[in-house]
Every structure is written in C-alpha cells, then in structure tokens.
C-alpha cells in the first residue's frame, strides 16, 4: 500500500476505464474510495473487485469469512478481470480478482492463486460425438471444420458459440486452444481468430443455454458450471473431471488469481490466508473449482 501515497492519480484513469454505462458500479467504486480508502488502514473493511467468473466464489468466501470475523467487512464487486487489475493497480480496491494470467506489464502485482478452474468444451446432451483433440477444437472454433460429420457425428452444421472479446474465459481459451503449440524450432504462433459467424454470448450461463437448446452447438464454459443438460467433451482423450484436472492431465486449466499491489496490508492478508485455508478451499471444491494444494 506504500504506492498509494497518491491515490488521486489513479482515480481519473480508473474511472475512465470503468464502463460509464454502469453507474451503479461506478458509485460502488467511488464509495470504495471514499469510505475505506487506501490510506485509512484503521477502517476494517476491504474490497475485492474484478473478474465476474471469480466473483460468485469470492462472494461465497466473503460471506463465510464475515460469519467468523465480525470485525472485518469484505465487499466483493464485479467489473471484469481487466477492470479488477486496473482497480488494484490504482488502489481503488484492496484485492483484485482475475480469471486470466497477468500480462508482462501487469507483473508488478503480487498474485495468489485462489483455485484452478478448467474450461471445458460442451455439446448438447443428445450429440453423440464424444470428444476431439486440441487441433480439431481449434479448427472447429476457427470455422474450418463446419459439420459434425467430420468429427464422426451426425450430418449437422456446427453452431459455434464463443464469448465476447475481453472476457477472461475467452482469453484463456484463446491461449490454450486457439494458439497452435510452438513448432520444433521454438517458433511461437499467434492465436487463430474465431469463426466470424460464431455466436457471441456474454456469460458462461448464456453459452450453456444455447448449447442446451441446440443439438448442433458447441461452446466452452467453466467446468464448475456444467450441468446435466450439456455434456463436457473429452479433450485430447481426457475426460474432464476433478481428478484429471487436479492431476494436470486435462489440458485447459486456468488459475483464478487474487491480486494485491505490493505486500498485502494486514486486513487483506488475513482474508487471503483464510481463502487458502482448508475450509475455504473445501467450499470452493464444493462449487466445482479445483482447490490449490
């Protein structure tokens, strides 16, 4: 928190960063500055902001934590991974939440892995195709495999469903699936663009809804959100499950990160410690995340 001697410097920038069309969120941020403030360590209140993928889990932990520690108030806000990273860098919140890896420019933040989350390919429950490998998945999502027949399924045009540009889930998927692995000479590749006619939805839930209703659809969502109406596809011969994800066999795993600027202040450190404790990790596992060791 030493870097916070000039909170006003980051204020304007961060406000510019937030979607102006979400006044409620802005108001919360404004309150977050006005009330706990970075410099007022005596106020026993911390704010988490960022990824909407992490948000529900963080809310759960905050609720549970406040049951046992009445002296500390934990506020959780959404806004998206990028917004969360910006917010914690400019001292608007105490802990940022991110569902994507930090870029080189963002390495100044201290990161704590909260849990692992797999991104799984989902298809309609009636679709007989069991799975595919990473290369096939890339061809499907970039629009070069267009019919389920090519994957051993029925003669149906594939409806590709993806997430909107900027989403953490999409960024992780792009990195793990859409980017070809480096060649033998170590040459790195750019991610392949998604098919232009892919449907775009703005949440895991919306993607799942479409796949649940359309026999020809394929999408990708968080492993914890798979339900009986959709089927998680086998990827590279590995059936996604808690076991395969934890052992590292399943290929598309991302980390949910909690971020602080420099060393965490005492209140934040307490919460971080709780989040990594056995009961907290047990709660997350119950919600479908893969706990850290």
């Amino acid at each position: 928190m030493r870097a916070c001697s000039e909170p006003s410097a980051g204020w304007g920038r961060a406000i510019g960063v937030m979607p102006a069309v979400r006044p409620a969120f802005l108001l919360c941020l404004a309150l977050a500055i006005a009330l706990p403030g970075c410099r007022r360590k005596s106020a026993h209140s911390i704010t988490l902001a960022g990824s909407t993928s992490v948000q529900p889990f963080a809310e759960l932990l905050a609720e549970e934590y406040m049951k046992h520690h009445r002296d500390l108030e934990v506020n959780v806000q959404g806004g998206g991974s990028s917004a969360g990273i910006k917010a914690v860098s400019s001292c608007i919140c105490n802990i940022g939440m991110s569902s994507r890896a930090l870029t080189e420019k963002e390495q100044n933040l201290t990161q704590t892995v909260l849990a692992h989350d797999a991104i799984v390919l989902i298809a309609n429950a009636r679709n007989p195709v069991a799975g595919m490998n990473l290369d096939q998945a890339r061809l499907v999502f970039s629009g070069r495999i267009r019919n389920w027949q090519e994957l051993g399924g029925p003669d149906l045009d594939i409806t590709v469903v993806t997430r909107e540009d900027g989403s953490g889930t999409r960024a992780s998927f792009e990195e793990a699936v859409m980017t070809p692995r480096p060649g033998p000479d170590g040459r790195k590749f750019e991610p392949v663009p998604f098919a232009r006619d892919a449907l775009v939805q703005d949440s895991n839930g919306a993607v799942r809804e479409i796949v649940a209703g359309d026999e020809a659809a394929i999408g990708y969502i968080s492993f914890g959100l798979v339900d009986e109406r959709v089927r998680a596809l086998v990827l590279n011969g590995v059936q996604p499950s808690v076991k395969t994800i934890r052992s590292g066999k399943y290929p598309v795993v991302r980390n949910f990160l909690l971020l602080t600027l420099g060393a965490a202040d005492s209140c934040s450190a307490q919460f971080l410690k709780y989040a990594l404790s056995r009961p907290a990790q047990g709660l997350l596992a119950g919600e479908g995340l893969i706990p850290v060791e």
Binding site: A83, R196, V200, D202, I210
Partner: protein, 325 residues
C-alpha cells in the same frame, strides 16, 4: 411547488399527530379546506407565477443540457480513437477484434440497418393496417378495448420480449428454416412487434387529425370507405404516418436487450436472414463489461456512430412532420 404546499400543507400537518383511523374520517374536512386556497391561488402574486415559470424553464433546459452532456462524453471518449484509426477505416473495415487493435464496425452498421429496416417493414405493415382499422372500420367499443391493449405492448420490458424470442421464436426458426435460429429474422420479428405501439399510436393520431370534411366530401361523392381511406385519408395523413414509421425506426435502432438475446451477436456481414448478426447497441452492451483502454474507447466510438444514425432519423421525422404544416 409553492402552490402545492400551500394547498396540502396545513391539513397534512394537522393530521400527522392523529392516528390513521381518525385521519380517514376527517378527510372530507380536509377536502373542504383545500378548496379555499385553490380559489385564492387564482389571484396569486405575480412573483409566484414568475417563479413557477422560471423553474419550469430551468427544468426544461436541464433535460436539454443532459443531451449535451451525454453527447460530450461519448464524443470525448470516442473521437481520439476514431481519429487515430481513421474515420473511413473505422466505419468501413469488417474486422472487429478490439483486444488486438482492430476496429471495424461495418458489420454492425450493416447489421443494425438490416435488422431495423426489416423490423420497420414488418412492424410498419402490421401497425399501419391496425391503425387504419382502428381509425376507419372498427366499431367504437372495439377501439375502446384494442387501443389500451396495444398501448400495453409498449409497457412490456424488452427483456421479456427477448426471453420470448429465445424460448419460442429462435427454436421455431431453427427447426423450420435451419441454421442456428439466432438470426436477423428473429431480431426483425421481435423488433417489429416492439415498435407496433409507437407506429399505431402516431399513425392513429395522424388519421384522427385529418379534417372530417375531407372524409365526408369523399363519401358524399360516392367513394367507398376503402377508396376514401387510401385515396383521401392516407395522403392527407401521410406526413404523420411517415413520422410514426421513423420514430418506430428510432426505437428499433436503439433497442438492445431483446436484440442481444435473439441476434446471436456474430461478427459477420449478414448476407442471409438466417445468419446471426450484431447490432451497434448490442456491441456496446455485450463488451462493456470487460472493456478497458482502447477497447472501451472503441465502444464509445460505436456509440458515436449510433448517435449520428439516430440524429439523422430524428431529423427526418422532424422534417416529415413539418411538411404537414
């Protein structure tokens, strides 16, 4: 404000101390009391009159000021990016991947226009037919039932339209016509229904505003009701009908929630009615959650394009109405 407090103030103050039941029985008394200040206010001081006048003026201007504030912020955020990318490139490139620095909104402009025009064709035809019926053929009692029901359509939240679209319309299109179902067609039908109340209300007013002399003259010359309607009434009400269509168009261009839910939001140039499409408004709402930096500026720039399109539509509506006078 001042007058209101004069009228209701004193009786209300008297009541506050007394329990509720008592205040009910006392209400006739309160009403009789209110009558006298009302009468007084007819001879109210010119000062109060001035204050009310100026107050209303201030409120009226503040709503206009709001428009300028909104426009200012949209343009302040959006202009630098468009200037950097280049206006022409921004509106003519088909490649939109803001996180990779590629900003082209052409598919969305085309998508917005395509969906809107189809919605106006669909909703306009239905709406004009409906208002013709209500204005000329419907018996009085049915107008009394139908008109409020149509106005009720306007009160249904757009998310409900979208939900019905997703649950009913999209699967229907998918099974009947094929394709993903999320499509230009689905959006146009939903939007067409959503603009009905606007189109009907304004065109009905336009028909009613035609002097009855025209109609009576035509009927007296031996024209049938239908001949009178399309030879006399429609031309006489033309500018009002056009205004209704254009306002409906404005609503269709601006609608977001329902479209996001049924359009599929893909970034293609829509070449078929069954293809998914992304409109300008959907683009903003869809991506704002995670946007930052240039990406966010690009969304504001999308808003600029929308602003210009809507300004053009409104100007057209104004001109159409003015022609009538």
């Amino acid at each position: 404000m001042m007058r209101a407090s004069k009228r209701s103030g004193p009786p209300a103050e008297l009541k506050t101390a007394s329990p509720l039941a008592e205040s009910k029985t006392a209400s006739p008394l309160a009403e009789s009391k209110t009558a006298s200040p009302l009468a007084e206010s007819k001879t109210a001081s010119p000062l109060a009159e001035k204050l009310v006048e100026k107050g209303l003026l201030l409120v009226a201007f503040s709503s206009v000021a709001m428009l300028f504030v909104i426009a200012f912020f949209i343009f302040r955020e959006g202009v630098p990016l468009v200037a950097r990318v280049g206006v022409w490139k921004f509106i003519s490139s088909v490649d939109w991947s803001p996180s990779k620095g590629r900003f082209g909104v052409l598919p969305m402009i085309v998508g917005s226009l395509e969906v809107t025009i189809l919605a106006v064709l669909f909703g306009g035809a239905l709406g004009l037919a409906c208002s013709m019926f209500l204005a000329e053929f419907a018996p009085k009692w049915s107008v009394r039932i139908l008109k409020p029901l149509i106005e009720l359509l306007a009160g249904i939240p757009s998310v409900v339209y979208g939900f019905i679209g997703v649950v009913v319309l999209v699967p229907w299109i998918r099974s009947v016509f094929g394709g993903p179902g999320f499509s230009v067609l689905a959006s146009a039908i939903i939007l067409g229904i959503m603009i009905l109340p606007t189109v009907i209300a304004i065109s009905l007013d336009a028909f009613n505003a035609v002097p009855s002399l025209y109609k009576e003259g035509s009927l007296a010359l031996g024209a049938t009701r239908w001949q009178t309607l399309y030879r006399v009434m429609v031309p006489a009400a033309r500018s009002g009908l056009i205004a209704g269509l254009i306002l409906g168009m404005g609503r269709a261009v601006g609608e977001t929630m329902a479209v996001i839910m049924v359009a599929g939001n893909a970034l293609t140039m829509p070449t078929s009615l069954l293809q998914p499409v992304r409109t300008l408004t959907s683009n903003i709402a869809l991506e704002m959650g995670y946007a930052s930096g240039d990406h966010q500026a690009a969304l504001f720039a999308t808003g600029m394009v929308l602003f210009v399109i809507i300004a053009i539509l409104n100007t057209m509506a104004l001109l159409a109405v003015r022609k009538r006078r």
